[in-house]
């Protein structure tokens, strides 16, 4: 191996490739997180509905979630790209967007959103079901309407309960963005691969890509954890006392 040629990664070419790839990855991750949370929540609300008239909807949603969760994301990606976005009608529908994003980008993002929505629906559903029945009854008994009960009483508790699982999924979707390279979206891993085949510095380039992902995932989970702590504080839950701690005790806690 000999001396390490850092210029491969930190030189102008490496920097440019990594920066453009990272920007694509961040955008896909952002859209995937936002929209899968929205769609997943809608599915979850549908599945916990109680009205007998909505039974067909519940059955359909359950089947859909099971199907999406049991099919590899790569197959779904190909389905969206070659199938759905191969249709001229769909291409016409998204044509206003193709000035900003490539059709590969949109198809890949759709696949990731739908795939992750199924998991998020399960997480939100578990959160909704973990809110005690008494909370609904108490809210209704104090004269709150259905929407108010849901938005002000049930949802805050349900999402707070689901947050740890949701964070796992957000980190998961951030990592999963990399699969869009198979349909040719120039994301971070794609650009790292390009740089590898240009310079043959496998270890360095792939190592740099790994490092970027470690930072990215840490930021995602740290950010949402901070949000959780902020909400705990805001809603007046007891907080753990955070007195001065030694480095050793901090390490002990981290590797407990």
């Amino acid at each position: 191996m000999g001396s390490v040629n850092w210029n491969v990664v930190f030189g102008p070419e490496g920097r440019a490739l990594f920066a453009s790839g990272l920007w694509i990855t961040v955008q896909i991750a952002f859209y995937a997180i936002v929209f899968s949370t929205l769609i997943g929540s809608l599915i979850a609300f549908g599945r916990v509905s109680r009205s007998p008239a909505l039974r067909p909807l519940r059955v359909a949603l359950t089947a859909l979630v099971e199907f999406i969760r049991n099919v590899p994301v790569l197959v779904q990606l190909a389905f969206w790209y070659f199938g759905v976005f191969g249709l001229s009608t769909v291409q016409w529908l998204v044509s206003p967007l193709t000035g900003i994003y490539s059709i590969e980008f949109i198809a890949g993002t759709c696949a990731l959103i739908v795939y992750r929505s199924a998991y998020i629906a399960e997480a939100v559903r578990a959160g909704l079901q973990s809110v005690p029945r008494g909370q609904y009854e108490a809210a209704t008994a104090s004269g709150l309407g259905y929407m108010t009960t849901m938005v002000r009483i049930i949802m805050p508790q349900a999402y707070r309960m689901a947050l740890p699982t949701l964070i796992n999924h957000y980190v998961g979707v951030t990592k999963n963005t990399s699969i869009v390279l198979v349909i040719g979206v120039p994301d971070l891993v794609f650009q790292a691969y390009t740089l590898t085949s240009r310079t043959f510095e496998v270890f360095l380039v792939m190592g740099a890509a790994v490092a970027v992902f470690v930072v990215l995932c840490t930021l995602v989970s740290a950010g949402f954890n901070a949000l959780g702590r902020y909400l705990d504080h805001r809603w007046g839950y007891a907080r753990r006392s955070t007195g001065p701690r030694s480095i050793r005790s901090w390490l002990e806690a981290w590797a407990a």
Partner: protein, 213 residues
């Protein structure tokens, strides 16, 4: 439908590789996961720190990047292995850190009083593990382990990126050759994967009920 039946032999024979990859992945990740979980529960802080750092590192890498990395690393280190072997190793190592965390939380979930009682009644450390901790921990681990392994079955499709001719790779090749029937071919792939994974999850659910006896 003709697109499926004309290429049936070719595509279905790829399932051999899918099953083998899944098998190697499951067995390898379980064995490695046990080792990592043991290190993770070590009484020595440096060992715990090192293992935790390794787990966190692998957990924040996309599997696709990990597969590429393993493949290139093997060549770099001078091992001339096939894409299949390299892919199996990547899957096994990648999944093992998740398995290790599941095993660890299963073991930590056993009430400490049980361990104390077992040790106090004269059982050795290994006997305590064998007769008291593991029977309870395994039962606790089964749901997460089975969903992790079903995830692994789905993830075998990613190994197609380094050129392993498993099921998805063959469907994808067929799709680019036939070109005009993407819905049929990909729906076929989806249904096949769904049947495998859903059947596995049903089996897992059944065996969970039994272990409650």
């Amino acid at each position: 439908m003709s697109a499926i039946f004309n290429n049936w032999e070719y595509m279905i024979s790829g399932l051999r590789y899918t099953f083998l990859l899944a098998l190697f992945g499951i067995v390898g990740s379980f064995l490695l996961g046990c080792v990592i979980a043991t290190l993770r529960l070590s009484p020595y802080l440096p060992v715990r720190l090192f293992t935790k750092a390794f787990i966190e590192l692998v957990r924040s890498v996309p599997l696709l990047l990990f597969i590429f990395f393993t493949y290139f690393l093997m060549t770099e280190l001078g091992y001339n292995v096939s894409a299949f072997v390299s892919g199996s190793i990547a899957l096994a190592v990648f999944t093992s850190v998740y398995v290790a965390e599941i095993i660890r939380s299963g073991i930590l979930g056993v009430h400490p009083g049980h361990v104390e009682a077992a040790r106090a009644s004269g059982l050795s450390y290994l006997q305590t593990m064998r007769y008291v901790v593991l029977p309870q921990a395994v039962r606790r681990m089964m749901p997460s382990l089975s969903s992790e392994f079903i995830m692994l079955v789905k993830e075998t499709s990613l190994v197609s990126v380094i050129g392993v001719q498993e099921f998805y790779a063959r469907v994808s090749i067929t799709n680019s050759r036939v070109l005009v029937h993407p819905f049929e071919l990909l729906a076929f792939a989806a249904v096949v994967y769904f049947c495998i994974c859903f059947a596995l999850s049903l089996v897992a659910r059944r065996s969970e009920l039994r272990s409650d006896l």
